[in-house]
Amino acid sequence: MATTTLEPQASAYRRSWVIDWLTTVDHKKIGILYIVNSFLFFFAAGILALVIRSELAVPGLQFVDQSTYNQAFTMHGTIMLFLFIIPALSGFGNYIVPLQLGAPDMAFPRINALSFWLLPLGGGLIFSGYLFGGAAAEGWTGYAPLTQQGGVGTDLWIIGLTLVGTASILGAVNFIATIFKMRAPGMTLFRMPIFVWTVLVTAVLILLATPVLAAGLIALFIDRNYGGSFFDPSVGGNPVLWQHIFWFFGHPEVYIVILPAMGVVSEILPVFSRKPLFGYRAFVFATIAIGLLSFSVWAHHMFTTGAVFLPFFSFMTALIAIPTGIKMFNWLATLWRGKLLLNTPMLFALGFLSMFLIGGISGVMLASPPIDFHMQDTYFVVAHLHYVFFGGSVFGVFAATYYWFPKMFGRKLNDRLGKVHFWMHFIGFNLAFFPMHQLGLSGMPRRVSDYSADTGWTILNFASTIGAFLIALSVIPFLINVIATFINGEPAGDDPWEGNTLEWATTSPPPPYNFDTLPPIHSERPLFFLTHGHGHSAERPSDLEETDEDDVERRDGIV
């Protein structure tokens, strides 16, 4: 029998770093590409947010006309959701999931590269409307039949979103295959880190929901260009059908955006509390329950259409508060009697808990149809969705950035600058978005470029604008921190945080193949186990042996 010796491909020939990054299929490089790309879109959409807030600071149209304003909020919403939050969390998923599973890469590295490269292409197309007579201006929800009136920008928006959706679907397939087939020996499903669980449920949601959006977008494209009549009532279509299709995707999409951020927080809180996540299994089941329920609540976005059965959708929506409440209690119990280290990633994780709570509460309020009749399409909804997406997901993205930066680049971000960033971000966020609750209650509709001075909305709007600029300024300490850390950051070592999960068992940054050797995996905290066993006073190595064998059998049974 002949023995073959493999030479690592990477060293076989030399190429420039540009070509290397453009052609890479390494999940870690692709993950970094995702994250960098996402932050670029974050800054672009952030500038659009400043345009919106500047215009609304005081009554009267001062800076932009109505049409420019409408393009600004449409692009802001579309870019923030589809090209910042979702890809940023996918980027962390790409980088971290194979490491946490003890795998050398994603299951399909080339598809992984494809699903990344579709993003700048799709995002570029969406933005390119500005070059062809104006970007899409129908809101990120693109309600029919208003979309019938849009210009070329609307077609570019449709095509761009379809590409971005395709990227998501490909990514989801890749994550599901990786998580089911690439786990290290001993890594049973119930020993997977919570972050992997949330990415798994997210991937399933993407796989089931995003094709529906893609189909809707294609139908819309046919309506606009080839005389279709899906959504246009003037030729017999039904505009409410578009809302059903959009929200059948759009509500699971909310969980696509929030679940991985919940996963990030569920990694960070235990590490910096030095405790396991309280109720790991309950948390997993709650995540699955949220995923399932998310497909039966879409019409709560449509209470005022008069075209949906209110009691059903109201009840199902309210039910989501139960698994979400369980998660909140799990996080709180994880803090209880812990030893909390309040560094920057932990602050962002705690910021997530306290801000997402507000978004969750206002969400339950909106689940009540009579209250929604008043609040729907007002600034209360704008406040609610920003407490979920920004107070939740974006805090999660920054928590992940501070937490995993040392693993990605071998250096720790400066904690003092990080705290400055956190507090500016936290105060700016609340100043920008809390007043919107009251604006909405007083009846200020969303998506208006102006309001009359005698409405009494000026003070709150002005405060909100100051908050928005404070958020924008908070980016400065963040960027300085990143640059300074690259130049002269504190070396991180393999495991700067005394982490629990496998990504901390390799070097920082990891080698292309990720691991030389893997520690034995007996729990969802293999690294903690390595140093502390179960963490109870007496180590009982004999137990470990037994568990190990049991687990191997169980793993064979599961997969």
Binding site: Q66, E138, A318, G338, M365
Partner: protein, 331 residues
């Protein structure tokens, strides 16, 4: 703290001006109280944990490794479950009240939305169409159920009056029978701002209107005013004294009336024929009050300023010979 919150008027919708709005407001208060309890409890615990369990420098010991506790987890599954069921129960009760429909609404008004204004069409076939420069007024009678039929001529719009705590979409369907309807009873006469709440394109922000809630007589007069092409009279605040005059066959139905001195009063004038009539008051040759003409059968309410004691004449300006009467203003 909660009471302070509520007293400060923070996080409250406007004082409701309809029956159903009052129900929604009361539901909102219940929900706000529940929300405030959850908010204070959770944020309080987070702050407590941050202060109480902060790691001391140099402390390398492990805290107790708690993985879970089934009893506790069952209890805290029940807490949100109970809250959710309470909320759902109250919501459904209120929903039934908001969606209740009367047999005979006091007025049924067709509301048409289009880019970017409104048209209000009353039962009398009278309609008013707004323009961006001059948004229209929706007249509704106070104290009677008002039904609105909402339809769109183009894209989606939404009818929203914050002080009524109600909103419903105007959607264009290929089949008109699916048009939305809402019903409410305004409890307080007054002027309320309304606005389109569903993004509908370029000038969405300017798609505003005003609701004028009037006592029945004033409402009828306002509709008649629109019908006659006249600007409807400004709302009567309160008419302490109202005189009713009818016109038919080019005759007034009365030839004298008496009102107190130095007191503004109202004349509720009903024209029963398709001949233009009005009511004006003269002191000899001096005009003291000139009422708007009613060209078609209809009613109008004139607000007449206070007059000093004395004897005056009331006349229809179109028929000063046939339609004359005496006004006595007494101390």
């Amino acid at each position: 703290m909660l009471i302070v919150f509520l007293l400060a008027g923070c996080l409250l919708p406007p004082e409701p001006k309809t029956d159903a709005g009052r129900d929604v407001f009361n539901l909102y208060i219940i929900v706000l109280v529940l929300a405030a309890i959850v908010f204070v409890a959770v944020e309080g615990f987070i702050l407590y944990a941050v202060v109480r369990y902060r790691r001391k420098p140099g402390d390398e010991t492990l805290p107790e490794q708690l993985h879970g506790n089934t009893t506790v987890e069952i209890i805290w599954t029940l807490i949100p479950t109970v809250i959710v069921f309470i909320l759902f129960g109250f919501s459904m009760v209120t929903l039934a009240e908001v969606e209740a429909r009367s047999e005979e609404p006091g007025a049924t008004i067709q509301v048409d939305g289009f880019q970017w204004q409104w048209r209000f069409t009353y039962e009398e076939g009278v309609s008013e169409t707004g323009t961006l420069d001059e948004p229209p007024t929706l007249y509704v009678p106070v104290g009677e159920p008002v039904r609105l039929i909402l339809s769109s001529e183009d894209v989606n719009h939404a009818f929203f009056v914050p002080e009524f705590l109600i909103k419903r979409d105007l959607i264009r369907y290929a089949d008109d029978s699916k048009d939305n309807e809402i019903e409410f009873t305004v409890t307080e006469a007054g002027t309320y701002a309304g606005q389109c709440a569903e993004f509908c394109g370029t000038s969405h922000a300017e798609m505003t209107f005003t609701v004028e809630a009037l006592p029945r007589a004033d409402y009828d007069a306002a509709i008649a005013g629109i019908a006659s092409g006249e600007t409807p009279p400004p709302t009567t605040a309160e008419c302490e004294v109202t005189v009713e005059i009818k016109a038919d066959n080019t005759q007034f139905d009365i030839d004298e009336f008496e009102v107190p001195a130095e007191t503004a009063f109202c004349i509720e004038f009903e024209n029963l024929e398709a001949v233009p009539h009005n009511v004006s008051i003269y002191d000899g040759g001096t005009n003291l009050f000139e009422g708007a003409f009613v060209n078609e059968p209809g009613t109008i309410t004139y607000e007449v300023p206070a007059l000093p004691a004395g004897d005056y004449t009331f006349i229809c300006d179109a028929h000063p010979i046939d339609m004359v009467g005496d006004v006595t203003v007494t101390e």
